[in-house]
Symmetry: C2
């Protein structure tokens, strides 16, 4: 159908003023007097609504006036400037065609609904202001990430979702199977006979694409992944979901310093892109969801991120131990309260904390010369704490094998990964950005269930 979008009318209004236009959209509100009425329409292309004025010279005036919120209509009319009104223009309709009515029990009436209630109607909530804004920002953020990496020649790699290995023991996994659960085939010794399963062995949903990603970085030099990741953690918090998306770039011929530069540039790029391309949505969040959001994001964009080693950070934080629920001391992982104190109170800008004790980080991180810390980095941002975690990878075959032995990991499970250290190993680094964490940061939304279209959490897999 040849319809103009409301976005187009707002962005290029001069082209359309005083001309006939046809739009299609959904009724947000409607009120009528005896001879005319107003309909506020949203067409999903743009955060702002469009007001339509209709008159009783239309033969379906009665039908229109009876429309309920949520109805779909197609409106033809003249776009007229309204200098006295709040909105910049309206349509003086010559024709309003009802595309689809909305039943009287439409769950979204013109009142404020709680986020909790809206979660129970995940298929309808994108029709509300908040979720229009959230999910448009989500879409733009995803694109900004692709754009950032593609403009820099990074190769996008689809790492596998179904996996035969628990790469880094990063968390509880979901099992994937085609075995009949009512009648699980067993071996003679009573164990499950996985030779009968689809892949002929036990398989799970991935918790990270990093190890696979590294293999591609050793071929393409700079790569990134952007795909779903799964955790079967039984944690019912506002920050955990069983299914979420991750971005994991990996760069060869690169060290921890390169990794930090990449992370800083990426975050700034994404924030800028979203603020430029969704100003209406960002203003909405700033006004109604998280006052101070835009200042905070501007501060990130305009700051040079600070740098501090874990050891230095501990020294700084120990002086303020009276303020913390969990007291800090060297060797313990930083809690969110410590992270936020560092970035909000000490530095007042984003900060990279580097060189963590090896005991609290993954096996593949590069050992520093002190033999106590590894070349890990967490990026902390005001308002949230850790948003990115990364590291330079151990590229020395012998050191990696030694560390794996210390941790009881079997060499044979990591043959492909060790091969990378055998055949043309390079210093290399990478990081992981939780996509939903990033959206929460950009929007100020405080529950991960409200930034995922159809969230999956413990005991919740609706629609």
């Amino acid at each position: 159908m040849d319809l103009v979008t409301v976005r187009e009318l707002y962005r290029n209004r001069e082209e359309y003023l005083d001309k006939e236009v046809t739009i299609g959209g959904w009724v947000r509100s409607i009120r009528d007097s005896k001879t005319f009425g107003f309909i506020v329409v949203n067409d999903g292309s743009f955060f702002e609504n469009l007001q339509v004025v209709y008159h009783d010279n239309m033969e379906n005036f009665g039908e229109i006036s009876k429309l309920n919120v949520g109805a779909a209509i197609i409106v033809k009319g003249t776009l007229v400037a309204t200098p006295q009104a709040k909105q910049p223009f309206e349509i003086q309709a010559t024709e309003v065609v009802v595309e689809g009515t909305s039943a009287p029990d439409y769950p979204l009436q013109k009142k404020r609904h709680s986020f909790e209630y809206l979660r129970s109607i995940a298929h309808l909530r994108p029709r509300t202001n908040t979720f229009q804004a959230v999910f448009r920002v989500r879409s733009l953020t995803a694109y900004a990430i692709h754009k950032f990496f593609q403009e820099r020649g990074f190769v996008y790699v689809h790492t596998p979702l179904i996996t035969g290995s628990d790469c880094e023991g990063a968390g509880e996994m979901f099992q994937v199977t085609t075995l009949d659960m009512n009648n699980v085939p067993k071996n003679a010794d009573g164990t499950v006979d996985y030779s009968k399963d689809f892949f002929g062995k036990e398989t799970n949903l991935t918790v990270s694409g990093q190890l696979n990603g590294e293999t591609y970085a050793q071929a393409f030099r700079n790569i990134y992944t952007f795909g779903p990741t799964f955790r079967a953690e039984n944690s019912n918090t506002t920050r955990h979901a069983a299914e979420f998306w991750m971005i994991e770039p990996e760069i060869a011929f690169a060290d921890l310093e390169d990794d930090m530069i990449l992370a800083e540039n990426m975050l700034k790029y994404v924030i800028r892109y979203v603020m430029e391309n969704a100003p209406e949505e960002m203003n909405f969040f700033n006004s109604f969801v998280d006052k101070g959001l835009i200042d905070r994001l501007n501060n990130v964009v305009n700051s040079d991120f600070a740098r501090v080693t874990y050891t230095e950070a501990i020294e700084i934080l120990e002086k303020h131990n009276d303020k913390f629920e969990y007291k800090v001391s060297w060797g313990a992982d930083l809690q969110t309260e410590h992270e936020r104190y560092l970035t909000e109170e000490i530095y007042k800008r984003p900060v990279f904390v580097t060189d963590y004790p090896k005991e609290i980080k993954a096996f593949y991180m590069k050992m520093n010369d002190d033999n106590k810390t590894v070349a890990a980095v967490d990026c902390l941002v005001p308002g949230i704490g850790e948003i990115i975690g990364g590291s330079q990878r151990e590229d020395d075959y012998d050191k990696l094998v030694a560390r794996m032995k210390e941790l009881g990991l079997k060499e044979e499970d990591y043959g492909f990964y060790l091969d990378l250290r055998k055949y043309g190993s390079t210093r290399h680094a990478g990081f992981g950005l939780g996509f939903e964490r990033c959206i929460m940061y950009l929007t100020g939304m405080s529950n991960i269930r409200d930034v995922i279209p159809f969230p999956r959490t413990v005991n919740n897999c609706e629609l």
Copy 2:
């Protein structure tokens, strides 16, 4: 590290000629005489290699000359034009630093390996010419798809991977569970007690994001999904994988005609983008993988796609039934041989076949007035047959419910989907593009295992 990429040297050579440059990459071949040698290096940023000349005035001349294929090196030197040679320039090295050696058993020697062998070393095959080309094209294609939709204001929606419903019965599904397979909890009646499972019910991996996508189209008007999809089909063919990626746009206030225009524009855009951004790779495919590829793609870009109804197509094909293994007749689904005959022999360009018998299409497709056919469309392209399948959706509540009843689908399983027809229903349409099918089409690669970084097929879930 401050390295220039080989891509940058090729694309902006004038800036670098006769200047000192430093590159990092992997040895593709090496040969030396007593006093100097040549190394062919690929740095993963670009399909073409770079030749490095080194001399015995370097103190590590011996070390360099002993390098094996696959070793990682960092080369400093002057970029010099080589007008007499096949390649446009080379580096006259002043320094070659060995970043990582390559063990003598490096599996990729300078000879042709079979695709089958390379599948067994999926972590190393991206270092070969063919797979460098395939996976760069895969990355660019993914980006082109995002770019196409984002430039048109479409909202990217992440539909869920784990699902509680088998939306359209599109195929065998993988079960997702955290139950202990060795000791599956049972109800009193002997059935599996799914209340103990992570989500409190039986869950599977999605076979399509379409139904979820429709809910967002009814809010944002134009949306697309781009994510992984799963089929647990026990079919060991060159065209089936258990895990693959799909693109599923959905457009509201739109009919089948709009859907076809969108599909045609998208395909042309993607082909153009890849040909412009990966000319070296496309020439390689055209020379070594699929002669005629570029002509075929150019033909698609420059054609107006043909249109024919299923009923007309059957009439045309029946005249050629002697040529087909499976004879055509009204009511039967088209086989690949028929599809290819239509697009390659009859139309000699892409063709949309529309209005299929309702019996061979999904329940949600819009019934035509004849009550026998539905507003479905398949896009057929030369060399492959069907590449896109789509339809206008049934937007009438009563008709949809009636069709569901005919097919024995339970209304209560589709409550959210029926809601869309109750609250502001609009005519709407969409299609699905199998991403791997698209990559096979763009590259001429004939086995789906060779266009997925780490393919998952029956009995195969390695790395």
